[in-house]
Amino acid sequence: MIRKHSLAIGACLAVLAVGAAHAQANRAEVIHWWTSGGESAAIQEIANGYKAAGGTWVDSAIAGGEPARAAAINRIVGGNPSTAAQFNTSQQFLDIVKGGMLNNVDEVAKKNDWDKILPGPVLKAIKVDGHFYAVPVNIHMPAWFWYSKAAFAKAGVTAEPKTPDEFFATLDKLKAAGVTPVAFGGQPWQEKIVFDALLAHIGGPDLYLKVYKGDQKAIASPEFKNVLASFKKLKNYTDAGAPNRNWNDATSMVISGKAGVQIMGDWAKGEFQAAKQTAGKEFGCFPGFGPKAPYIIAGDVFVFPKTNDAAAIKSQQLLATVMTSPATQVAFNNKKGSIPIRTDVDAKSMDICAQQGIAAMKDVSRQLPNPEMLVAPDIAGALQDVVTKFWNTNQSVDDAVKAVGAAVKG
């Protein structure tokens, strides 16, 4: 009896659900992990854009990147996928592309000439075998140098460092002035970000790319050893409270002028803004040393799980169009702290750090993909283990070189 009843109820619900789906035009359920204040305000801009284009936005926010991606994949595998799901601009979604579980957005891409307007590294991440499988929405730069103008003034530093040597000289001056030179958050992912920054800026883009492509000769080279040594040298400029420190606690050391520099992604800008500080006034930012410094590119994309439902495909296409339109791009990225994926937008309304970023993006030779675009999540994780071990123990540079060499093999 009970089973019969529940069957009947289930059937009713199914009918209702189908009815509801028909009632809502272009219904799109979007899984994402933007739950903090600034982030949810940002995704709201995309939702508004989608609604204005005649769609119905169903928000599926899941706190935390890993759980959100796991939920998206579970629903795809379980046969009940969302309309769209967030991933990072990386190889995170490569396996599900290869498993034939995503719809491509070739039509939208061709109509909007993505091949021309999108930066190379992003294109490479979203284009698999000639098809576009993800819609990029922003470009994050994970390794900006943020500094306190007050701390620099106290130490008598007048100009931003233009070379690695000037950078270490600046840190020495800060130390002499009694300021913690580097605001450091000793968590593995933060250590990895700092390491990548030094690899790109001290080792150079060539070495960076070779190391992440698993070139054993480059890994054994004196240049790479120098990068490792410089990375370790940075530890002398951190304080005793650095281990386990959260990134935003490190940022607040720069905000209060207790520390000089923090190497962190552009999301740190939100912390400065929350403390009512303005870029260029109380704090400064530079993406690397000198005007030609490489600009590391990371970011977020949305993918569209495979479905044969014509209505759902229409929603997916509409979402892709809205997400990449110039108006949505500026509105969204202003709130998110990142920069637009296209350089043909009006940057005047953005702050000076974002403007520096857009300027850097216009120079193709400065664009450098972040490690997650170059290696599988598995290898990226193994490398993170190596870096954090090297930073925190007395492991020699030579042993670290061996460990890096083994980790990139997977």
Binding site: E66, P67, R69, A70, I73, V77, Q92, D95, I96, G99, M101, G186, Q187, P188, D239, A240, G241, A242, P243, N244, A376, P377, D378, A380, G381, A382, D385, T388, K389, W391, N392, T393
Partner: protein, 281 residues
């Protein structure tokens, strides 16, 4: 019984077998159905981080269980002295257990942080050279985590032991007093053996939290500094989600399951024997 049986079969045994199956495949983000033999296990035991995790969980487990039992027993004995305000004290001691491991970890992270917590407070009082930086030190961080975990779980052991102590008949104490046996001796030689079942329960409960320890580590250190406080649970979770390597994660959880079974089987066998022999006594 039938729904229960189905739950056990599908939800427990089914998923166990599924994990074992995945652990001998090359699965990454998605489960695949190929067969690669023991390749994932080879990789697992070549991983420095996994071996370190195993070592750490043993260190943590021994400290945690022993300290919880000793402290819990002492607290129970203390409360059993018919102290004033017993109800209040009992609540105070048990209260940490009502908190999640995550909250515990966060609190202790701040207390133990050398720049914010105990160390800086004592230094501010004038003891400039006072050092208490376990949580930031490679070879002491597991003690820091054990400290937080003991703080949380000792109250539970106290409650279990106290129930056991209350079950001991007053006549026993009177007899001991007439014979002139010192109190500590009564506790050691008579009461403690009588608490056997309580201790057994406590050990089982504590062991379970040792095997699955994850949240307190994530909240306190995220496995750091470096890899110094990595534990198997975190290795599995990281590989399962962040590193999309469910093959390796399943291999790791299978190893963990086998370890638990290897420890549990002799114990259950011994208990079954004891129960049989008990019948003849």
């Amino acid at each position: 019984m039938l729904p229960m049986l189905a739950t056990v079969l599908f939800a427990y045994l089914g998923t166990v077998f599924w994990s074992v199956r995945v652990s001998v495949s090359s699965s990454r983000t998605l489960p695949s159905s190929d067969f690669v033999g023991l390749a994932q296990y080879t990789r697992l035991f070549a991983s420095e981080r996994w071996l370190l995790s195993l070592e750490n969980v043993v260190v943590f487990g021994v400290i945690f269980i022993v300290a919880c039992l000793v402290l819990g027993f002492l607290l129970a004995v203390f409360i059993d002295q018919k102290v004033a305000g017993e109800g209040v004290l009992r609540t105070v001691f048990l209260y940490p257990y009502a908190m999640s491991f995550v909250a515990t970890g966060l609190i202790w992270q701040w207390v133990l942080n050398p720049e914010l917590g105990i160390q800086s407070t004592v230094r501010a009082l004038g003891f400039e050279t006072f050092t208490f930086d376990w949580i930031a030190t490679q070879d002491k961080v597991m003690y820091a985590i054990a400290l937080a975990a003991v703080w949380q779980a000792a109250g539970l052991v106290m409650a279990l032991m106290l129930a056991g102590l209350r079950g001991i008949d007053d006549s026993l104490w009177k007899a001991a007093r007439i014979d002139g046996i010192p109190t500590w001796r009564v506790y050691m030689s008579i009461v403690l053996p009588m608490l056997g079942p309580s201790i057994g329960t406590a050990v089982v409960l504590l062991s379970v939290s040792v095997v699955k320890v994850y949240d307190v580590v994530v909240a306190m250190t995220q496995g750091g500094p470096g890899l110094a406080s990595e534990v198997p649970g975190k290795f599995i979770m990281d590989n399962l989600f962040g590193r999309s390597n469910i093959g390796l994660a399943s291999a790791a959880s299978t190893v963990l399951l086998l370890t638990v079974l290897a420890l549990l089987t002799p114990w259950m066998y011994a208990r079954a024997r004891a129960a049989r022999n008990g019948g003849h006594r």
